[in-house]
């Protein structure tokens, strides 16, 4: 110790005093902290936590991309295009709201008033301005807004639904509303197509994600594609050929079904009138469904194919069975006429089909025992839905076996008093094309589950023998006589070089208003080609044509057009064999 140093404590006061003052200061500071702690944690902890979380925290929904609906070759009938939603942060846009709303109205065609309200929304940091804008356009608009000095606009992912082919297959595919599917396959298979939305929550600073900040992402699960058996080009052709016929005959509506004879795959289901899937609201509601499956009608003479082939399967008749056809046939309740006036004529059974004689068919059907025709028609698939995955399908009307009377059988034998839907009838005729084996129709490739939980698709195809192969071959030979220029009633349905088997139908239609035959007609033509090795079955129905034509002259040419297009499109050569020469008269 140096003597020059003054003794401790003299200048700084006593240590005890210093210690006390120090503790006092510390105690005061700590009690302040304590009070603040009670204020923060005790009095209103949640609001402060929320304020802290809201600071720079971004919460974004990540929409899943919807699966495409494809044709059999993978071409899209409906696809999702990368789109964006334009969103606004009202805290930033409120200042220049009117100018910005005007700008958005001009560029994005949104409603001015509601946009203005959104741009000025109180206590909100996120408002939708426009949904489903193509990405390139949305980015362009937001960039332009930035250049003009508008702040607070942003974009987020939001897939756009596009139907590249417009009205082609629209009646099957359906369409989407703003947030949910409203019709067709879009709605039936929404579970598979829609996927699952994800969400993302992260902190941002200066527009960039803070690397070590909170960051939770639930990835969206994109929807799966739905592959149909439709052939886009054939569907287009069928729709155009059908529309031309419907317009030219001034008919109410029409539909055409094209089916692969061997697999039951539906290559086209054309409906007319149809609608543009990109703008469904422009068309009447009645045109938005598929008439081929949802309309119920009486098939008329096309049904004779089923009656006669059933008779041949039972071995009761042959194509050469000779029938004396009187000018009119008196039955229990009313006389039966043919569509053409004639005296007593001598037709073979082949001639009955070729000339489409009701009386001849009824006389042949007299060989049936009670209930036999019902059982055959039921096996052909009448009275049951086809379950191909189209919503609202009608099951048709096949009178119950118990209520089956003889008069009823007379009418059912030539296609009245029994109702079907288009695909049902096409499948029934296809049974003959497929050698007597009914192959269930399908619209979906593989397997898919409908919103009712039903499994549909080519994986669930069933095959059941309805008539013998011999009966089916004989029936095909008889049907060839229908398109014969001399013997038959539908030479317009013939295709040069090919053997075509077909059957016309002209049926009185039941009017919705009175529930009775209202004097209008449904004309139809069903057939397959090549007749001795069928590849396609085409069924065309035109409802209420006003040109006075029958099945052969109105629906026949449409059949020929669609069939020849299908044959050349798939490169099916003619079989080169001689066509059937079954006698029609005796």
């Amino acid at each position: 110790m140096r003597p020059t140093q003054p003794p401790r404590g003299t200048r700084r006061g006593s240590p005890q005093l210093r210690l006390r003052v120090g503790f006092l200061v510390i105690a005061m500071a700590l009690s302040l902290f304590g009070a603040r702690l009670v204020q923060l944690q005790g009095l209103d902890p949640n609001s402060y936590a929320a304020m802290a979380a809201a600071e720079g925290m971004v919460n974004v929904e990540l929409p899943a991309e919807r699966g495409d609906i494809l044709d059999r070759n993978g071409k899209p009938l409906a696809d999702s295009v990368d789109g964006l939603m334009v969103v606004a942060d009202p805290a930033m846009t409120a200042e220049k709201a009117p100018e910005l709303a005007k700008f958005l109205y001009k560029r994005l065609h949104v409603d001015y008033v509601s946009t203005l309200a959104k741009l000025r929304a109180q206590d909100s940091r996120f408002e939708y301005i426009a949904r489903r804008v193509p990405a390139t356009k949305a980015t362009e608009v937001v960039a332009a807004a930035g250049r003009l000095g508008f702040e607070g606009l942003d974009t987020r992912r939001d897939p756009v639904r596009d139907y590249p082919a417009g009205d082609v297959g629209a009646n099957l595919v359906g369409f989407l509303g703003t947030d949910e599917p409203l019709a067709g396959l879009e709605r039936t298979f929404n579970g598979q197509l829609s996927g699952k939305d994800g969400s993302s929550r992260y902190e941002v600073g200066g527009g960039n994600r803070i690397p070590l900040g909170e960051n939770t992402v639930t990835k969206p699960v994109d929807g799966q594609d739905l592959k149909t058996t439709i052939d886009l080009d054939l569907q287009w052709y069928a729709q155009r050929a059908l529309r031309q016929a419907v317009e030219d005959s001034r008919a109410d509506s029409g539909f055409a079904v094209v089916m692969d004879s061997r697999t039951g795959e539906l290559l086209a289901i054309a409906d007319d009138p149809t609608y543009d899937a990109n703008d469904p609201t422009a068309s009447p509601k009645a045109d938005l469904g598929s008439r081929a499956l949802q309309d119920v009608y009486e098939p008329g003479s096309v049904e004779k194919v089923l009656t006669i082939s059933s008779l041949m399967d039972l071995g009761l008749v042959t194509p050469k069975t000779e029938i004396v056809v009187p000018p009119e046939l008196d039955r229990e309740d009313r006389p039966i006429h043919d569509w053409f006036a004639h005296g007593t004529i001598h037709l073979t059974l082949a001639g009955v089909i070729a000339k489409s004689s009701n009386i001849g068919t009824v006389l042949a059907a007299d060989h049936f025992k009670q209930g036999q025709l019902h059982d055959y028609l039921s096996q052909f698939g009448l009275g049951k839905t086809t379950d191909i995955g189209v919503r609202g399908e009608t099951q048709g009307l096949l009178p119950a076996r118990a209520s089956w009377t003889h008069q009823m059988q007379d009418r059912i034998a030539f296609g009245q008093s029994v109702s079907v839907n288009g695909v049902q009838m096409a499948t029934a005729v296809n049974t003959i094309a497929n050698g007597g084996v009914r192959v269930s129709p399908s619209l979906i490739e593989g397997s898919a589950t409908t919103d009712d939980g039903q499994q549909v698709g080519t994986d669930h195809t069933t095959r059941t023998r309805v008539v013998s192969e011999d009966a089916a071959t004989k029936m095909a030979h008889m049907m060839e006589r229908v398109v014969d220029p001399e013997a038959g009633v539908a030479p317009a349905a013939a295709i040069p070089g090919y053997r075509v088997a077909g059957k016309t139908g002209t049926a009185q239609a039941v009017g919705a208003a009175c529930g009775c035959y209202d004097g209008t007609f449904d004309v139809s033509f069903a057939g397959f080609a090549p007749a001795d090795d069928p590849r396609f079955t085409v069924y065309v129905v035109i409802k209420n044509p006003r040109n006075g034509g029958g099945g052969g002259s109105t629906a026949g040419p449409v059949f020929a057009k669609i069939m020849s297009y299908a044959l050349s499109r798939y490169g099916i050569p003619p079989t080169g064999t001689a066509p059937s020469r079954l006698p029609v008269e005796w």
Partner: protein, 204 residues
């Protein structure tokens, strides 16, 4: 420090060797080494400084990566959007309706039934038919106009010695009767004329 021991050794006789040996153990004074504190402080400060600077650099590089990822994400989105809109254009170009329209404008028509040549035998199956310019309408007809907007044409039968003014007057005065005579008053009939007109336009 060893000098006192040597002195002791010289004085003590050999006999006392053992005792001497025992006596050699002595308490060593505590060694007080004063090492410099500087290296340790330097090391700690280096570690601290290194840690802080490293953390700073790491943070900066992460931030940099975040900027880069934001920029790249934006670029990827733009490119994906571009691809999508190009695909959309492609789908529109592939639309059978557009192709058919383009083909028709070039004057192409539907092909007739083809014939097939079997290469092995040279046999020809099918009947080759030439393509005919059958009108295949790919666009819907315009909707039929209501009768009021699409009146039936006035047909005025003129007798060989013409008294023009009289007939003209009667034609205008009794337009409705004229239409009735031609059985053309209902919507469908006049609609038909509208359609016919549309057809003519398309065929040109």
């Amino acid at each position: 420090m060893s000098s006192p021991a040597i002195q002791v050794r010289s004085r003590i006789p050999r006999l006392a060797e053992d005792a001497f040996q025992k006596a050699r153990l002595s308490v060593v004074p505590r060694r007080r080494t004063r090492t410099s504190r500087m290296p340790f402080i330097a090391l700690v400060s280096m570690v601290l400084l290194g840690g802080v600077v490293g953390l700073l650099l790491f943070n900066t590089s992460m931030q940099q990566a975040s900027f880069a990822s934001t920029a790249l994400e934006e670029q990827a989105n733009t490119l994906a959007a571009r691809q999508q809109s190009l695909e959309m254009d492609l789908d529109r170009l592939r639309d059978p309706q557009r192709i058919a329209g383009a083909a028709q404008r070039l004057g192409m028509v539907q092909a007739g039934a083809p014939a097939f040549i079997t290469l092995g035998s040279g046999k020809v199956t099918g009947v080759p038919t030439p393509a005919v310019a059958a009108p295949f309408r790919i666009n819907a007809l315009p909707p039929a106009k209501p009768a009021a907007l699409n009146p039936a044409p006035h047909v005025v039968l003129v007798d060989p010695p013409p008294t023009k003014s009289d007939h003209h007057k009667s034609g205008q005065g009794s337009g409705k009767n004229n239409q009735n005579n031609q059985n053309n008053t209902d919507d469908t009939a006049s609609g038909n004329q509208g359609r016919g007109h549309g057809d003519g336009k398309k065929n040109q």
